[in-house]
């Protein structure tokens, strides 16, 4: 809290900060006089009895000088432009706006957000035109997770407007004025790229540097490198030959059935073999498309057809996987609604066996709270708040 200021003490110098009507002209003049007065008057006396100028520290003075001088342009934004500290004036007096909000941090930039038009377009393509998230992501150069999120948020907005809840429309408009935006440009292929959609996360296994001698005559590719990183033996020659014929099939074999990935190591050390970048990126079909256009540059029509087919197959595989998972879940979950009960009962099928309970009967995989195992819920270092909220 600010110190309370008694009425008598409030002098002209303090007024600018108490009320909200300071002007730039009165500041420097007052500040010089106040600093002189301060230097000779003890603080306590100036507070309660003296009618001399009230305390005004140098720091505060300087701050308000800055705020009314070079800092004044940060007070209000200019619609459509950023207003960051890093903006510099060119010699001819123009303001060079930047996308870096922090002076010292050269590695952070404020990246553009999706404009309202682009958001609407994403929503329309997914919901009205029934396109898959993957297809829309490729068309508009927006990450798949972002596409899904936009659709989810727009649905929520629709729901809220239908329910007559108040929205923060002026706030939303102001934010969109302050930030850079990726606009949607009508026409195919004309829209600006929002972000790179084929990001490859760096894998834990690739962190150590490995010295691995290979004969110069050998074709050492990404698949081999992955196997070396995960400590797996090199692939058989037949397998290599099979993959070389149709690289995309080799990719889909893994992406459509991740459980089929080869395992290496024993016991707790067991892990999957590291897959090459072609498999681990979100859109492997784009690589296949490029390969086609490299191999058969003339047959654009055929290439396009194959590409569309692949996309469709990808969507189908994904849908199948989703349905299967749902079916499996439904199979394990029985829902009963007794007529005379206020509640529904959800009965989950679980397995009690030697594998789940373990030899001593204390295994964590078995249903129920365990016996002979301390409940660590109040222990230091344990997370005591929820860790997830199920949708």
């Amino acid at each position: 809290m600010a110190p309370r200021i008694q009425n008598q003490v409030v002098s002209n110098t303090l007024l600018p900060y108490l009320s909200s009507s300071s002007t730039s002209t009165c500041l420097p003049r007052l500040s010089t006089s106040s600093s002189q007065a301060l230097a000779y008057s003890p603080r306590s006396s100036c507070r309660s009895f003296s009618s001399s100028v009230a305390p005004q520290t140098r720091q505060r003075r300087e701050m308000f000088q800055w705020l009314s001088g070079p800092g004044a342009r940060f007070k209000n934004h200019v619609p459509g432009e950023t207003n960051y500290l890093t903006a510099r004036k060119t010699p001819d007096g123009k303001l060079l706006r930047t996308s870096r909000p922090f002076i010292d941090n050269q590695q952070y930039r404020s990246e553009p957000i999706l404009s309202v038009d682009l958001q609407n377009e994403i929503y329309d393509r997914v919901v009205k035109h029934k396109k898959s998230v993957r297809a829309v992501s490729v068309e508009l150069d927006v990450d798949m997770r972002r596409v899904a999120a936009v659709v989810r948020l727009m649905e929520l907005q629709k729901k809220m407007t239908d329910e007559g809840k108040s929205l923060a429309l002026p706030y939303g408009r102001a934010i969109h004025e302050m930030l850079e935006k990726t606009e949607y440009e009508h026409g195919v292929g004309a829209s600006r790229s929002h972000e790179n959609i084929n990001d490859l996360p760096s894998h834990r296994l690739t962190h150590p540097q490995i010295f691995y001698p290979v004969s110069e005559s050998r074709q050492f590719n990404r698949v081999d490198a992955g196997r070396v990183f995960s400590g797996a033996p090199a692939l058989e020659h037949e397998e290599v030959a099979r993959n070389a014929v149709d690289p995309y099939a080799a990719v889909t074999r893994v992406t459509h059935k991740p459980s089929a990935i080869e395992m290496v190591g024993k016991g707790d050390e067991e892990h999957q073999v590291l897959q090459p970048a072609d498999t681990r990126i979100p859109h492997p079909h784009l690589v296949a498309k490029e390969r086609d256009s490299l191999n058969h540059p003339e047959e654009t029509y055929a290439n396009r057809k194959v590409y569309n087919e692949r996309l469709r197959a990808e969507e189908k595989a994904q849908e199948d996987r989703r349905l299967k998972a749902e079916e499996r879940r439904a199979k394990r979950m029985l829902r009963v609604q007794p007529e005379d009960s206020r509640f529904e009962f959800r009965i989950q099928d679980v397995v009690v066996s030697r594998e789940t309970t373990g030899k001593n009967g204390r295994g964590a995989a078995a249903p129920g709270r365990r016996y002979g195992v301390p409940a660590n819920d109040r222990k230091k270092g344990e997370v005591k708040i929820p860790t997830r909220v199920v949708v």
Partner: protein, 484 residues
């Protein structure tokens, strides 16, 4: 009131806050020069300044547990490159790739990944930090308060723990009213007085009603209705309304904010008065389209276009000419405004609320507004078809003005019951802090955001908003690395 404990001037600390104190501290912040500090001192300095910003509300112990030396990073892959080369080119020769020209080498030379700037990435998972990063609160402390006070939901469920660690795909939402309060300009003295008066008047009216009800009970055969309101001539009302709407939308800088407010209030009242004549009782709370069609119906307004004789054509031509003229004028006016605003930016120092972007609101920039307007015009068409008598005629321009005024009044009304100054304006110095990191996808209209993934570093860029240089990041990282 600023928090004196957190934003001081003597020992400047940078905080997660949008206050002007923090802005001032941020622009003058300097680390002590490294050549006068020992390595240990450098690490200490770095971690202390960094911790004042990153998770200042989190205890050191808790943060030390959260810290992870394993940092997430991604590399953007180019599908073309992947297709051209299966990796054997890179490993060819003696293992460092085939001999390449300098140009190729330059092309491949990517910026280093700023791992050190990701030291505090685990804190970005916290719910309170994410609420601040999505720009729903003006400081991390305020975000924390919102969470604790139960204004934040995660996946539709109330979440009262600011330390909840968001999982990828979690949707969090803050009550829009709180966000408007956190990000809007505060009420000034006159606003507060007005809201007090409004509250008082409301209470009095209530008391009077109650008293009247009690009296009614005593004397049963009271008169049914006090006095019938004299219905005004619709033509006059419409004229008056139009005049008011034009006043509101005028972008004249010379009008004082108080005056503007008065105008807005007058318009609001007039609309209410007109609409209360309607038979449907819900019209005051109905949708905009319904209100507008009702308005036109009540005032028997009609578009000039419907007339099919030459008169109309003439009128149209005149209109077009007028429009062109007006558009030109508007453009000029806009330019002038921009110039004025730029000037003002350097001049203005007063805290007085300037008569500011009313024009930005009336600009037909966003498309949701576009759709709104489309709906409106449809509603209008229907309304005009339904009626036979036309008493008043409006040209397109006037209709547009009326509509726009109605939209603006509807979206950003004067409402003294709100805890922020109305009509809503962004708070001062907000734009200097405005940034939304890529790991969040935010819908500001409903004040909801999705936590897409954990923040990552990529060549040249880090996704954790931090005001410090990479040297500070490196030193802080080393400090916490020591304790693992």
């Amino acid at each position: 009131m600023r928090n004196r404990a957190t934003t001081g001037l003597k020992k400047p600390k940078i905080r997660q806050s949008w206050s002007k104190w923090n802005l001032y501290n941020m622009q003058r912040f300097r680390m002590k020069p490294p050549h006068v500090r020992t390595h240990f001192q450098q690490k200490w300095d770095a971690k202390s300044v960094a911790r004042n910003y990153h998770g200042e509300q989190v205890s050191e112990k808790q943060w030390a547990r959260m810290f992870s030396p394993r940092i997430r990073s991604v590399v953007s892959m180019n599908a073309r490159q992947l297709a051209e080369d299966d990796g054997s080119k890179m490993s060819a020769g003696r293992g460092a790739g085939l001999h390449q020209t300098e140009e190729e080498a330059f092309k491949q030379d990517e910026k280093p990944i700023p791992y050190a700037q990701m030291t505090f990435a685990p804190l970005e998972r916290r719910l309170d930090t994410a609420v601040f990063r999505a720009m729903f609160a003006s400081s991390a402390r305020q975000a924390r308060q919102f969470v604790i006070h139960g204004a934040v939901t995660v996946n539709g469920k109330q979440m009262k723990y600011p330390g909840y660690l968001l999982n990828p795909g979690d949707l969090f939402q803050v009550e829009p009213d709180r966000v408007m309060y956190a990000t809007g300009a505060p009420k000034d003295r006159s606003d507060r007085r007005e809201s007090r008066l409004a509250k008082k008047a409301e209470e009095e009216a209530k008391a009077r009603e109650e008293a009247a009800a009690a009296e009614d009970k005593e004397q049963e055969p009271a008169e049914a209705q006090p006095e019938e309101e004299q219905p005004m001539d619709p033509r006059d009302t419409l004229k008056a309304l139009l005049f008011q709407a034009k006043e509101i939308l005028s972008t004249d800088k010379s009008t004082l904010p108080a005056k503007r407010k008065q105008q807005l209030r007058g318009f609001q009242k007039a609309i209410k008065r007109v609409l209360s004549r309607s038979e449907s009782s819900t019209i005051l709370t109905d949708s905009l389209e319904a209100q507008f069609s009702q308005l036109t119906l009540l005032l028997k307004a009609k578009r000039t276009e419907q007339q099919t004789d030459e008169k109309a054509e003439k009128a149209e031509k005149a209109e077009k000419a007028e429009k062109a003229e007006k558009a030109e004028k508007a453009e000029k006016a806009e330019e002038a405004e921009k110039a004025v605003e730029a000037k003002k930016g350097s001049e203005e120092s007063d805290e007085l609320k300037v008569p500011r972007p009313a024009e930005s609101e009336s600009k037909p920039s966003t498309s949701d507004k576009q759709t709104l307007r489309d709906n409106l015009s449809e509603a209008f068409l229907q309304a005009s078809k339904n009626q036979e008598v036309d008493m008043t005629q409006l040209d397109d321009e006037e209709l547009e003005v009326l509509k726009r005024a109605l939209v603006q009044m509807r979206e950003n009304p004067i409402d003294h019951s709100k805890p922020y100054a109305t009509p809503w304006l962004p708070r001062d110095y907000m734009s200097a802090f405005a940034t939304i990191p890529r790991y969040l996808e935010v819908n500001h209209n409903i004040c909801a955001a999705v936590y897409l993934r954990h923040p990552v570093a990529r060549p040249g860029w880090s996704e954790v908003p931090s005001p410090f240089s990479d040297h500070v990041g490196t030193m802080a990282f080393t400090w916490y690395l020591r304790r693992r």
